[in-house]
Amino acid sequence: MCTLAHVFEAAGLSTVTITSIRSVGERMRPPRVLHCEFPLGRPLGKTNDPDFQHDVLRRAFSLLERESGPVLEDHPEEVAGNEEPLSCTVPPRFDPDLAPAVDEARGLRKAYDRALSRRGVSEVGNAVDADGVPDALDVLQNIVDGTPWKEAGIPGGHTTALANDIRAYYEEAALELTDAPNSGGHQSEAWFFERTEAGKLILAVRKALAAQGAPQPVWFYMAPMYRS
């Protein structure tokens, strides 16, 4: 964002940049920066809170009144994200003949469909669509069970895209299964990787891929850098 601010300003546009990481704004020195210590992924701070979002915009646009720069100011309120797993139950075991993650994913399908109906759009679809999620989890289970990764038939052929699709399927479904507030941080992520069979399977397959000698880019980006 700071690079684009420099480029746009040089082209004759006035810019105001939100930064979530103060040191980046300090070092890159774009014309006008409002540093917001909000949960990452929420540059306007709070969902479904128009008053707060307007406050962020008002403070950002006030920087346009300055006569020279660069200008870097801090939003006075820190919004702390909650890192605890989202309070959201997972479907009970239904078909014991299926791998747990496959069974679980099937159980979440109605919730996923409700989410899709509500939003009209889904982030699932880079490697597999929703129909392909259970089978994809079966493939990942096979890798954990010893199938060489090159012979496993990884759907879409891209592990990062596949992991993103599976996680999006779960996180979108989760929003339909809980009334608990999602205050950001890594609540949805923590729920996925700590409470669901699919999340645990992705962490396991990451280890299995590494143990099989797969190149680091094949497995590393399947989960956040700090999860093992």
Partner: protein, 154 residues
Amino acid sequence: MTEQPSGDALIREQIGKLPVPQFSETAWTAPPPLSEARVAVVTSAALYPRDGEPFTVTDTSYRALDHDQRQLVMGHWSPNFDRSAFGIDYNVVYPLARLDELAEQGAIGSVASKHYAFAGNQPDDVATIRHDSGPACAAALKADGVDVVFLTPV
């Protein structure tokens, strides 16, 4: 709360250590009065329309987003940040409803007809957006009469 450092804190620490592009000087364009300014949003959230072209893993291009298109996919490839917020309320990343309200109140002049999205995960030298796709996006914004660009990360 967990006793471990938070995911956000770790990511801030890691990203804060990364080298950043250097600019020898900071360009400065004086805006018109905000009540007369045409405002656009440009985000690094890799947003694209439902039926549009997804971002690839090393994508340095951008997508134009029609003002009225609100069914958008967040196509960012990084596993490290919270995507759920955008699904709850797109305004927390892409505040077009808020800008429309400001335009109705007369606080800003108008809201642009098109907005733009880049992918946040750019090559370290950001050469393409600095010299190619960034200037091209600036030209498109200016062609729409935009005065002020509000830039949001994820």
